[in-house]
């Protein structure tokens, strides 16, 4: 062991080009994330306090905040944002736990994952439309009982979507967040060493007479949660400040705070921009409070349930919870299937009058007319996705490698910064970023968009790769190094092959994230760069449900292909390796 440590030491001092790059990469990563996010924030904070050269406003003051307080319904807006964000995240989290607990170590978990993961890649706007079609007064549920049961010949009056309490938003966000959290948890549990250890502990608990669900909550959860915390916080931050879902499913008298801010920013009355900036700052504080609230709740639960972990009780009404979970899972899956079927039917629907359950005729014209206009957006979507993902993967790998070369994990500060773009509401810094971009006189919209996508792709890629990378068995590298392999060779020939599957998953995830970006593409690209997603949202708020359905299906298909490849390739690869 001593000998190996010495070898490593020598390698540290003998800095070849690879080691150089690796050592610089965390600093580069920091700069890449801090400058745009903080810069964007500053460019929003200054106007919030009245300093806006664009409007010839140079007096520092609280005028923007005064205007903000006087906005009618501001408290309702804030309440809506907080409530929808918190409740949807809590629901998604609890359901993730219930599903994991009820189906842990069974084949069902795989099936559920396979059904839910396509939802992960549906852009929010498309999902919102699909959900709206189910719950609307003229929607699928109402069509299924009309007119034979309800007697409705015309669509009845109803409150969903757009109900004033935000229930539709909560439903939409929960259904979108559930697959994400579940997939993240499964990703953590899929790590060879860690997952195996947990599965074995679970089995031991079962042998000791614990009910499966109890065993999950007492044995798995305490180990799993710390790794799941960041994804949950990211979901929470996103949900409290998202724009697409509340825009399509939420009320508008008043809307959520984030939607109101977007309207103010886009208002013809340019002085509203001061108020919008103040609002963005308020959103930032609000999101921060929600995150703190979650962390406080987490601590409270940890302390109040600490003793219960070791009290030896084997079951807590487990049969009831097991059944409830089955029913909930079936409900969620049938709801999602109904939404998907609805989406597919709309994409090929001719006339489809209420209360028919299926369209009067099926046509392909929506696909045909869309395909003509889709060539350029499709090209942009793919190239931007591929460039930003490859860049993010490379940088992530280099940073993780630097961790191993330095034999210590990157600092807490750095790991916090990596998630900065996920934790800071994008509505708060993107407008500032556009202003900065103008200042830098950067005229290439394409490069700017790729760069802005990296901001959002990088954290997810890092999140998905870090755990696997850190759990690599270092003995392989040590042996290779002691045989005289340079760090680059070790990296390329020892580490990367072991990481083949996680890298593919991270790539698919990165692509999916990039494909789904709306606000960054629109704002940073100045609208010049059309992607499938920007087109879909433009159409979703406008024209036809049929065309939107076509775009939503294409949007789903693209990342799905990525995930299928990421799932198939390692199997093929390992199969050939086994022969």
């Amino acid at each position: 062991m001593n000998f190996i440590a010495k070898q490593m030491d020598i390698l540290h001092h003998k800095a070849d080009w690879f080691t150089h790059i690796v050592k610089l990469s965390p600093r580069f990563l920091l700069a890449l994330l801090i400058i745009p996010v903080l810069g964007g924030l500053i460019a929003v904070i200054l106007p919030a306090f009245g300093w806006a050269p664009a409007l010839n406003q140079y007096t520092i003051g609280l005028e923007g905040f005064r205007a903000l307080w006087q906005t009618p319904g501001l408290s309702t807006m804030m309440l809506l944002s907080v409530a929808t964000g918190l409740v949807s995240t809590l629901l998604a989290f609890v359901m993730t736990l219930l599903i994991l607990a009820a189906f842990f170590n069974t084949a069902w978990l795989d099936y559920i994952q396979r059904i839910l993961s396509p939802i992960l890649v549906i852009p929010h706007a498309a999902a919102a439309i699909a959900i709206g079609f189910i719950i609307a007064p003229s929607g699928m549920l109402s069509r299924l009982i009309s007119p034979w049961l309800s007697g409705w010949e015309l669509s009845p009056a109803g409150i969903f979507p757009h109900d004033p309490w935000g229930i539709s938003i909560i439903l939409g966000l929960t259904l979108k967040e559930l697959p994400f959290l579940l997939l993240m948890a499964l990703g953590i549990l899929a790590q060879p060493e860690f997952g195996k250890k947990l599965r074995e502990q679970h089995k031991v608990a079962l042998n000791l007479g614990y009910y499966p669900m109890t065993a999950f909550f007492k044995v798995i959860l305490p180990n799993l949660y710390p790794l799941l915390r960041l994804p949950i916080l990211a979901v929470l931050a996103y949900a409290s400040a998202s724009v697409e879902m509340p825009l399509i499913l939420g009320p508008n008298t008043p809307p959520t705070l984030a939607v109101a801010i977007m309207h103010w920013f886009n208002d013809v009355d340019l002085t509203l921009r001061i108020k919008a900036s103040a609002g963005a700052l308020l959103q930032l504080i609000l999101t921060g409070c929600i995150l703190v609230l979650w962390l406080a709740g987490e601590t409270a639960i940890k302390y109040s349930f600490r003793d219960k972990l070791t009290n030896g009780k084997r079951a807590y009404n487990s049969a009831f919870w097991q059944k409830t979970t089955y029913i909930l899972t079936i409900l969620v899956i049938s709801f999602i299937l109904l939404a998907l079927i609805g989406l597919i039917m709309w994409s090929v629907a001719g006339f489809w009058r209420f209360p028919s359950v299926i369209p009067e005729q099926f046509v392909l014209s929506h696909f045909q007319s869309a395909s003509v206009q889709m060539v350029n957006p499709l090209f942009n979507t793919l190239t931007i996705g591929i460039i930003s993902t490859i860049f993010s993967i490379l940088l992530t790998l280099l940073c993780l490698e630097s961790e191993q070369l330095n034999s210590k994990p990157i600092s807490n500060f750095t790991s916090l910064i990596i998630y900065l773009p996920l934790l800071v509401p994008s509505i708060a810094f993107l407008f500032g970023l556009v202003w900065l971009q103008q200042l830098a006189n950067n005229s290439s919209a394409y490069i700017s968009v790729v760069f802005s996508h990296v901001l959002f792709v990088l954290p997810y890629v890092f999140l998905s790769l870090a755990a696997s990378y850190r759990r690599l068995d270092r003995r392989f590298s040590h042996v290779a190094a002691s045989l005289g392999a340079k760090p680059f060779k070790v990296f390329l020939q020892i580490k990367l092959p072991q990481l083949f599957a996680p890298i593919l998953i991270a790539t698919a995830l990165g692509l999916a994230i990039s494909f789904g970006q709306y606000l960054p593409t629109l704002l940073v690209g100045g609208g010049r760069i059309a992607t499938i997603t920007t087109e879909a949202v433009t159409l979703a708020n406008g024209a036809s449900r049929r065309t939107s359905a076509v775009y939503a299906i294409i949007q789903m298909a693209l990342p799905l292909i990525g995930f299928i490849l990421a799932w198939l390739l390692p199997k093929l690869f390992y199969k050939s390796a086994h022969r």
Binding site: A54, V268, S369, S443, R528, E535, A543
Partner: protein
């Protein structure tokens, strides 16, 4: 790109041209008009030579597939004619373009702007013109501008009552028209007062997009203008002048008392409103609404042909008047490709482009050209085909109502927001 030296060169050329032509015209006794026209021709030749073979970024609302397809067609035409690459930047709201130009101005980007051409009118134009964000005195010098007959048709030089000063070239005309589902209702309202009684009878079957949506505001302006039709002339005329403290309540109170009666019988009891005209159209397709309206009548038959509305839809115009306005294209002061943008604007104004745009199956947007200025061949382009059953019957619009002063828009939005913006 036209730098300032280019402009000076251009001005000098025109000056030399005038100076050179003047004695010649005297001897040939050609009228002053033709000197001006020679000057304009030379100016145009210069712009054509500058603007060819370049890109033009056209910022235009992109929510309608038909309009997008028309812009795509125009792009192919200017590509063949001038080798100009027209890029349609699809906006969800035109104000996005306004804020972009403003952001560029604040960042001291005065000549490399990303917006070359923008589709605009009304309040967005008022804002851009107020902040001096637009290029001046070019639209009235476009060769095809003559076909709009500006001397006898002043509408093309005013945008919601504000003089355009050559900052925008007219592109099309629109009027507020209504459509209904004749399987749900056989007798749609034809006046504003009938609208109220019809809504009371068919509770929840009508609504309007939430202000500040353009179409929703247009509906409110229609209501406002109709409510003041019988007002004293002195009061009525204030609709077309800026808002003052004195006239604000006087003008707007009838509107609020009308809405107080209308809202309880609207869709969702007037507690939630559609976000846009397109969402309203979708609600008609869902049979939630039975009556709706649009500023672009041809989109109705087009939507039926795309299956986006049922075949039972019929269009009509209100008998007490239709709010109407002109929409334009403008060039920001800092546009990178100013000359190329003018070439595109001129093409959009050409008889070929305007006739193609007016076709029901293309876009159906009314032409801004005056038929008497066109020759026979050009007039031939505008011949119509058989209309679709859901299309607005020919000559339905009996009375047009002019847009109130844009100042009223802000007053309406503010008043609406405080009264109806919060339903809880």
């Amino acid at each position: 790109m036209l730098s300032s030296t280019d402009w000076q060169q251009l001005m000098r050329n025109s000056f030399f041209c005038v100076a050179f032509c003047f004695p010649l015209t005297l001897s040939l006794t050609i009228s002053f008009n033709s000197i001006a026209s020679t000057e304009l021709t030379n100016r145009w030749q210069h712009i054509e030579s500058l603007g060819k073979n370049q890109d033009v970024y056209f910022y235009a609302w992109g929510g309608d597939p038909q309009i997008n397809a028309y812009i795509q067609w125009a792009g192919q035409q200017v590509k063949t004619l001038y080798n100009i690459n027209l890029h349609h930047v699809k906006l969800t709201d035109t104000s996005e373009a306004v804020s972009r130009v403003l952001a560029e101005k604040s960042a001291n980007n005065h000549s490399q702007g990303s917006v070359d051409l923008v589709w605009i009118n009304g309040a967005n134009f008022a804002t851009m013109s107020e902040h001096a964000l637009l290029l001046k005195q070019w639209a009235n010098k476009l060769p095809n501008f003559q076909y709009t007959d500006p001397e006898n048709n002043p509408a093309v030089n005013f945008d919601f009552g504000i003089p355009t000063q050559g900052m925008e070239a007219p592109w099309g005309q629109a009027a507020l028209t209504f459509y209904y589902d004749n399987l749900s209702t056989q007798n749609p309202p034809s006046t504003l007062s009938e609208l109220l009684s019809w809504s009371a009878k068919n509770t929840g079957r009508f609504s309007y997009p939430k202000p500040p949506d353009f179409l929703g505001l247009s509906f409110l302006k229609y209501v406002l203008v109709i409510l003041h039709q019988k007002s004293a002339t002195e009061l009525k005329s204030q609709l077309y002048t800026p808002v003052t403290k004195q006239n604000k309540a006087l003008i707007l109170n009838p509107l609020w008392s009308f809405l107080n009666k209308l809202h309880p019988v609207l869709w969702r009891n007037g507690k939630h409103f559609p976000q846009s005209g397109e969402q309203m159209r979708r609600l008609v397709d869902d049979t939630e609404l039975s009556l709706a309206f649009t500023f672009s009548a041809p989109t109705v038959p087009a939507a039926v042909k795309r299956f986006d509305l049922p075949q039972s839809i019929r269009s009509y115009a209100m008998s007490d008047g239709s709010l109407s306005n002109t929409h334009f294209v403008a060039i920001p002061y800092n546009a990178t490709h100013q000359a190329s943008a003018q070439i595109v604007a001129n093409f959009l104004l050409s008889p070929i482009a305007q006739a193609h745009k007016q076709k029901q199956n293309v876009w159906g947007d009314s032409s801004v050209l005056i038929q008497s200025t066109l020759d026979d061949q050009q007039q031939e382009l505008f011949k119509v085909q058989l209309p679709h059953p859901s299309a607005l019957p020919f000559n339905s619009i009996k009375r047009t109502l002019s847009e109130p002063h844009p100042d009223w828009v802000k007053a309406i939005i503010e008043g609406w927001q405080t009264r109806y913006g919060i339903s809880l």
